[in-house]
């Protein structure tokens, strides 16, 4: 690597680290919880670790621990993965444009596309390809190392960090506000909040995501004529 390339990589790493800091806090907290749980259920370290490495989706991994402890049921595993993973479809559609022309980075950007990585990378409008890749990689590293720490040293944790997991909610809210203040067309925000809240109330906390997603799609489709012009005006500028 030349000096110039090394310097620009260093800078990108610095930018990516700053962008990913809230994810570091959230993932270490949740990762430690995940590692502690896996250890307390009597799994050898290999199970939580291979799930963290190959699945890299907190919600699927927490449910996975339960599945590994129960009877073998591949169909249930598949449908559960589909239910909790469905929201990724929306992240993909939202990132189609941003992740264009990424070359060799693209498979990694896709594999590492979690809720938090999507939120950070989408909100960082000026981020370069390398910075987005590094944010994604750092998030992956935080999650795996958090799980590892929880598994190995969880029982030694003495200080009271209860409630720190709220940083994830705070991050989504702050990014929501950031987007809300940037956008001209605000109705999708109300559609997203409304559909999800109604679905959570009606269907309950286990299966509300897919109905909420369907509701959002239907509403956005129904109001397309009204909403669409504002986005294409923006594109013409």
């Amino acid at each position: 690597m030349s000096d110039v390339a090394r310097n620009s990589f260093k800078n990108a790493l610095k930018v990516a680290f700053k962008l990913s800091l809230p994810v570091l806090t959230g993932y270490w907290f949740l990762g430690i919880t995940y590692g502690v749980l896996a250890e307390s259920m009597g799994f050898s370290y290999w199970y939580p670790l291979s799930m963290a490495v190959f699945i890299f989706s907190g919600s699927a991994e927490f449910l996975g621990l339960g599945m590994l402890a129960a009877n073998f049921n591949p169909l249930a595993a598949a449908s559960m993965a589909l239910v909790v993973g469905a929201r990724h479809l929306f992240y993909g559609v939202s990132m189609l444009d941003r992740y264009k022309g990424m070359g060799w980075r693209k498979p990694f950007l896709i594999f590492w596309l979690t809720d938090e990585t999507f939120a950070v990378n989408y909100n960082a409008r000026e981020a370069t390809a390398t910075e987005m890749l590094l944010v994604s990689f750092l998030d992956y590293f935080y999650w795996i190392s958090g799980g590892f720490m929880g598994y190995m040293f969880g029982s030694l944790l003495k200080f009271d960090i209860h409630g720190l997991e709220f940083v994830v909610t705070a991050m989504f809210t702050a990014i929501f506000m950031d987007q809300f203040l940037k956008e001209k067309e605000l109705r999708p925000a109300w559609i997203g909040i409304g559909c999800t809240a109604v679905s959570l109330f009606v269907v309950g906390s286990q299966y509300f995501v897919i109905p909420a997603m369907i509701g959002i799609l239907l509403m956005l489709t129904a109001f397309r004529k009204k909403l669409e012009p504002s986005y294409f005006e923006e594109a013409r500028k």
């Binding site: 799930m51 590994l68 598949a78 559609v93 693209k106 896709i110 709220f166 909610t169 991050m171 999800t196």
Partner: protein, 108 residues
């Protein structure tokens, strides 16, 4: 469960999770023009999705018991107000999280 069955379970979870991430990129490859409708969704969805994520974080709140979700609602309100005031991501997050952590300790 045998260890073979455990490996199969992990593989199923990994493959399907990856598919949910990859599907949009496979169906709408970068080389081909993306349909107008999908382009529109790409623009309109993010704000809806961020709204969805905020509500998603409240899924396990017990509204009728304990602290009735007051720490969560006030924590979120703190983030919103801080962001309207200073518009700095970290500051908003830190204040919101602090408000939440204090409230869950003083409200029993």
């Amino acid at each position: 469960m045998t260890s073979q069955q455990q490996i199969i379970t992990i593989v199923i979870l990994a493959v399907i999770t990856f598919m949910t991430r990859a599907l949009p990129f496979i169906v709408f490859p970068a080389g081909k023009p993306t349909p107008k409708y999908i382009q529109y969704l790409g623009k309109a969805l993010p704000l809806a999705v961020f709204g969805m994520l905020v509500v998603y974080c409240l899924k396990d709140v017990q509204w009728l018991e304990g602290s009735h979700g007051i720490p969560e609602i006030l924590g979120i309100a703190a983030v919103v107000l801080m962001h309207l005031w200073r518009r700095q991501l970290f500051l908003s997050m830190a204040v919101g999280t602090a408000v939440y952590m204090i409230l869950i300790r003083v409200m029993v």
